[in-house]
């Protein structure tokens, strides 16, 4: 019991550290909003008329949930960069010699990064309201937070796991971009999943982000491809697996 309390405290202090660092870095906060806003405005208004003509309805309504998911996956995956930073600037050692199991450190880091990513998603949601996005129901809209948090945890753990095996600060963003792009573009964030060519459909179904986007869209504008239960189950299982694998990889870090 005492041990559990200690582990929670360790997780908490790591979480708090990440939040403080984020809060103190305004440029980072603003910079990471630029891309989702650009996507929302350029694609939302640019492709909107065609989407409308094709009978899809309001495109902003369709992509806003996708863009929220996009801002989360970017922030989440890139939070792995902090591990590489900490390794290079020495702070990682301080946490690695501490008398606590490494998984608590991994968990604290993941929760910190995921909280930041979820917050980022909320900000993008608020911005999308300014652009004209309207959720079906403001009262149930906060339920989307469950899906947002799940993809945030999943991809923060993923980014952290990759970072625990990399030392190269320059290579990390390249690798992460290489992973994020297909994850995002093949997730149904930008296009409906109905009537896709078979090959694309298979890939889309294998992309974890698809379920996150589907869940968020399901809650916010009541359009689902799968069911909300399926989305939740897939994300939950994947997040648990990646957290476990990531903790294992993180526990093997040597400096």
């Amino acid at each position: 019991m005492e041990k559990i309390e200690q582990y929670l405290k360790v997780t908490y202090i790591l979480w708090l550290r990440q939040l403080k660092r984020y809060y103190r870095s305004r440029p980072r906060m603003l910079g990471s909003l630029a891309q989702p806003i650009l996507f929302l405005v350029a694609l939302g208004f640019g492709l909107g008329p065609i989407y409308q003509k094709a009978g899809g309805g309001n495109y902003i309504q369709f992509i806003a949930p996708g863009i929220i998911a996009m801002s989360i996956i970017f922030t989440a995956m890139f939070s792995g960069l902090e591990v590489i930073y900490d390794r290079q600037f020495g702070f990682l050692k301080e946490t690695l010699v501490a008398p606590v199991p490494r998984w608590t450190i991994m968990l604290g880091r993941t929760m910190g990064g995921a909280t930041v990513a979820t917050a980022q998603g909320i900000v993008v949601f608020l911005i999308s309201l300014l652009v004209g996005f309207r959720p079906d129901n403001f009262i149930t809209a906060p339920v989307a937070l469950i899906f947002m948090a799940l993809i945030a945890i999943l991809f923060t753990a993923f980014g952290t796991a990759i970072a625990s095996r990399m030392e190269d600060m320059q290579a990390f963003p390249i690798v992460i971009n290489f992973l994020i792009m297909p994850l995002f573009f093949l997730s149904g964030a930008l296009f409906p999943l109905e009537g896709l060519p078979r090959a694309i459909e298979v890939i889309v179904n294998l992309d974890p982000l698809t379920y996150g986007v589907d869940g968020i869209r399901g809650i916010l504008v009541n359009q689902v491809h799968f069911t909300l239960h399926e989305d939740l189950l897939v994300l939950f299982i994947l997040a648990a697996i990646i957290l476990a694998v990531g903790s294992y990889m993180f526990s093997k870090v040597e400096v």
């Binding site: 360790v10 103190r24 020495g90 050692k93 501490a98 008398p99």
Partner: protein
């Protein structure tokens, strides 16, 4: 009682032998200097003691526990000042210490008291709420020492703790470390390139070169054995005058670069 026991310790990186079958022991309460030229294996040895690297062969006991089998027990017992910076620059001095105290499970009341006390000792109490990135190299070092002592370790490892510090700060640090060694009987294990530091502070000295221990004993004994007048001469006689190349990984270079930027 021996607080550090090393038997036939070896660390190999691919085909390079960094630490080659070394054995020695340090008794509790001792101040022990671990000397050697660059790349001799000092930092690698300290990393194995502190659970950061797995030995290839041999056995270590730190306070009676094996760092490979019971890393958490070992980690609770030591404090460490790393060779290169290991503070979080984006946090304040107080936050760095608070973070450490929580990681080491120091109860809140004790933690706060000790943080205040240590900040006063290293003369950073007025800067407690400043971000560490605003600190000079010496201030950071002092903060790291305070941090290493926060959880009252039985052993403190100092890997070239005074590197790049001015004589004032160096003196100040050593008098504090000595004081703590006497008052709380903390074992001090340190590496340094300043021979007069080792001469003045250490009860016993081990000299490592090319991964092997080439001499061990008090400063007087080493001087006597090599028939030299100073520890520096004894050191040079034992390890030769050739300049060593340190096999630096990319990451070490980057850290060194950052240190330059910070100045």
């Amino acid at each position: 009682m021996n607080i550090i026991e090393v038997k036939n310790l070896t660390k190999r990186f691919d085909d390079f032998v960094a630490v080659d079958n070394i054995s020695f022991s340090v008794s509790a309460g001792e101040i022990f200097a671990f000397l050697g030229p660059n790349g001799a294996g000092k930092t690698t040895t300290i990393k194995m003691f502190t659970t950061l690297l797995q030995p290839t062969d041999g056995r270590i006991l730190i306070g009676g526990s094996d760092p490979v089998e019971k890393p958490d027990e070992v980690r609770q017992n030591f404090g460490i000042i790393f060779q290169d910076p290991s503070l979080d620059d984006e946090l304040t001095a107080f936050e760095n210490l608070e973070f450490h105290g929580v990681l080491y499970n120091v109860p809140k009341k004790t933690r706060r008291e000790r943080i205040e006390e240590l900040l006063r000792v290293v003369e950073l109490d007025k800067r407690r709420n400043s971000l560490v990135k605003e600190f000079s190299g010496g201030m950071k070092r002092r903060l790291e020492i305070a941090r290493g002592l926060l959880h009252h370790p039985k052993i403190i490892f100092l890997d070239e703790p005074t590197l790049g510090l001015d004589p004032q700060t160096r003196n100040h640090l050593w008098s504090y470390i000595k004081d703590m060694n006497q008052k709380e009987n903390i074992t001090v294990f340190f590496s340094t390139h300043y021979m007069e530091e080792a001469d003045r502070m250490a009860d016993r000295i081990a000299i490592i070169d090319n991964g092997k221990i080439v001499a061990e004993g008090t400063s007087a004994k080493l001087k006597e054995e090599t028939k030299t007048a100073t520890l520096e001469d004894a050191f040079l006689k034992l390890t030769g005058k050739e300049i060593r190349e340190e096999g630096a990984k990319g990451i070490d270079n980057l850290r060194a670069m950052r240190r330059v930027w910070r100045r």
